[in-house]
Assembly symmetry: D3
Homo-oligomer: 194 residues x 6
């Protein structure tokens, strides 16, 4: 796969994003886990619904950032988090930027710039998308636990998974989620796997 | 399930949209078919990418319409098209509106209005979302055929599945898709199933 | 899809019932859930095995009712229970009757009458099929919980899911099932999901 | 697993039949293939619908035979046909009878007798169930081919898979199925796999 | 399927081993269970890693035994353990030997001899493969329990599933596994299914 | 995930390799594609069966190389081939070596050396494993095409996928495979996807 030369090539390739499962769930035994496409939709919905509650935030712009934030996974896959240990600093981000430029080539030049803005967290909109990316992760983890998954407890023990608390609506939702989960799961946050 | 009373209830319920498969594919033997969430994301991306090429269109508004256009399927399911033969006129639309109002209750009152605008096709933005809804269907059908599905030929024979041609970028993409498919599939549009 | 005009059309269409999953399980995160075909077979077996223990019941006739009781789902889907909130009274039943008449058209006129008898619960045989429809639901819920599903507790809290107790063999089985489940599941009937 | 001692044990065990896929499809790469439960339901429906067209046949009795005909697969699995080459004559049948007696123990003594009648083909009803067992196989093969499976051509080349033609309604349906398939599949009955 | 006459036939047939799921997991509701191929790889890895810690053991030879030990399942299926109750003594083993001879025909005559050595447990290498076959079973059971399966408790209650303790590295690993599982699972070894 | 400190940690982690699907198939719409574990087993079997036909080759050593050759995918994933375009030269190989060292830490120091030997192709045994890695790919592609996949034609058009022809038994098998496929598939090597 090279640079997409037509819009149709781009749209056809995007359909395969549905077949890229979120690796963190796969490796912890979740059946029929969320695809990257599904994750992206939920992040986008969160950004839209919560962005409206944040003063001065450009919601339409944040939605655009959310639309492109995970597309590089089409060509790089949804890398497990451990990958960061094994690649040189910045290699993954550089690869994502390069892949994205080839994928989105038929779109106007603003598309890669959106990714860059997201990656660097340069604006409040970018930071909101990042926060919603994590909030969605923890919401889904809670849903899978409610359905019977027992291999996800470690997510609650690692603050790297928690959304940055600088946006009040995000912070409040996450706190409510943690409270509910603590009430629902017998031994919250204990590692219960072998 | 009743009216969602908190944002968290809404976000938790939305996660289950990933488990609602698109019925048209299921009944034609497509394995691991697209979920409603995945369909929604692809429609949204099309609206965003193509809307920018249409003079005078409010892309951010069209994106919002796309975000809510299929959410009622959370509680009603993705009804097979044949359902229209068996329910009284308008019953499905009324049910969708009622379900949507309960699902989206924690959001501002504009959300059901977005759905109403979409349903009635009252604006160019609503009509673009409807056109992209069908364009995405036919793109996905082509992808599934390219992967080996043989039960989808009838989609190409029924103009009800085709996007309304009043937006040039949509029309041109769909024509290019039909040309490519005709070149790729030996006996295009022939019914080849038993 | 229209009226089936030949027996072969009917038998071919029926095969797709295997791809219609039971929506109640799908939306609660059960993996690889029962299809409508599977549900139908189990109801039928219950009717046959339990009907023989009920004085004066015409088992062969009850078996026929069980055979047709869910076929409309071929064209309408397995609607989530919430649908009842959103459609006018009786709309779903009328739609099912209309769909069934078209599906079963190649069979003698008795087939739709069987569905009508089932739907109205006009005979002891129809009431037994309805009771076994619910008994099978609760047996399957118990099996899925035994396999690890944690999202099904609400079924045990809603008496609408329980089989009507007027047939002693059904009632006794259901009571035994509840006792076993209460002994097996730590906090029976508590809502444990987030 | 031993002898089922209660009806509830029996009904609980039967639910697992949904997880036993039909091996012939699995080994030829059919995705999400029919379960034994689904096969059983379809055979039963064929017996009921076609039995009514055969003079003098006891349909209710034939339906009972169909209900029990595959239950031994709960404990023995759906053995691939090649197994017959490797076990002594009659070993599989004896094993099925022994398994069935233990599975169905809570039912009256007639249940194993039904299986014996089926196995030996001692009555027209038993022969009709056997014929429908094969007719259903070939109908499903045609459906899977219509959906895209290319690994099933050999089924059409082996008359052992064809239903015995002594019942006119079965014979006519099968001939119609073959005609349609020959018209639909470019190179019928040619082995097209590597 | 008959005797493989060429190496390519053999290699093509072997690919289908990926579609044969391990029946013990299927019947206990594990989603997406291990295939026979996967089981074989893990046994092989255990044999290689542990064999090196056993004085005087011929690791390369043990690895060869592990490579062929489950291949008969290609044609016989992964029979549920209950099968032993229903077939005459030795029938399964004789069938496996016959199937294996036909599958492996293109290989030198040593291949069936490897299976025979494994089956009879005639050498320390064969006994190590048998021990690792069971150790892998219990490791996988623990992994599935850690992911949420609740239907596997009975495995821990039946010493037939435990690896023979005559090899110290196997025994020590299994004891460590049991200790960890007892610490992780609230009520170890209690039957918690309905 | 860090350095495995005990053999049990290693064996538990290895079980998750079954959930890592081979990305090349996933992105081309193959349903239930081969896992990395399954791929590894088949490569290993090829190495064992073909190595015995190559003069002077140390088969036991080649088998060991095959055992470790893909384990880094546990922590890095099965990266799509396009990744090579986006990462700096050698970054993927360095990451694999680092991941492997942490995964295999409880094993003797020879394990990472085996991977290094494989990676660099320093010995005939390493080159045979590499050749079998590709031969297995093309065998599986042919099997999936035989089952109905239509999205894999491009594999036959890219010689990078073909096994190096310096080992006669590998070369001959691959040539036989190509001949059979050309005879089986109507328009061999033509790109038939949209």
């Amino acid at each position: 796969m090279r640079r997409n030369e037509s819009l149709l090539d781009l749209f056809l390739e995007l359909q395969t994003l549905d077949r890229v499962p979120r690796t963190g769930y796969v490796l912890r035994g979740v059946s029929e886990p969320e695809s990257v496409t599904e994750h992206s939709w939920h992040v986008l919905f969160l950004v839209w619904a919560l962005g409206a509650r944040i003063d001065g935030l450009d919601v339409a712009h944040a939605v655009e950032l959310a639309l492109v934030h995970d597309l590089a996974e089409l060509r790089i896959g949804d890398l497990p988090r451990t990958v960061a240990r094994y690649f040189p600093d910045g290699a993954k981000q550089a690869a994502e930027a390069a892949a994205l430029a080839e994928i989105l080539h038929p779109l106007p030049a603003t598309a890669p710039a959106l990714y860059e803005e997201y990656r660097t967290g340069a604006t409040p909109e970018a930071r909101l998308v990042k926060a919603c990316d994590k909030l969605q992760l923890m919401i889904k983890v809670a849903v899978y636990e409610g359905w019977g998954s027992r291999g996800l407890a470690e997510f609650w023990g690692n603050p790297d998974n928690f959304p940055d608390g600088s946006f009040a609506p995000v912070r409040e939702l996450f706190e409510e989620l943690r409270r509910r989960r603590a009430a629902a799961v017998p031994a919250p946050e204990a590692g219960e796997s072998v």
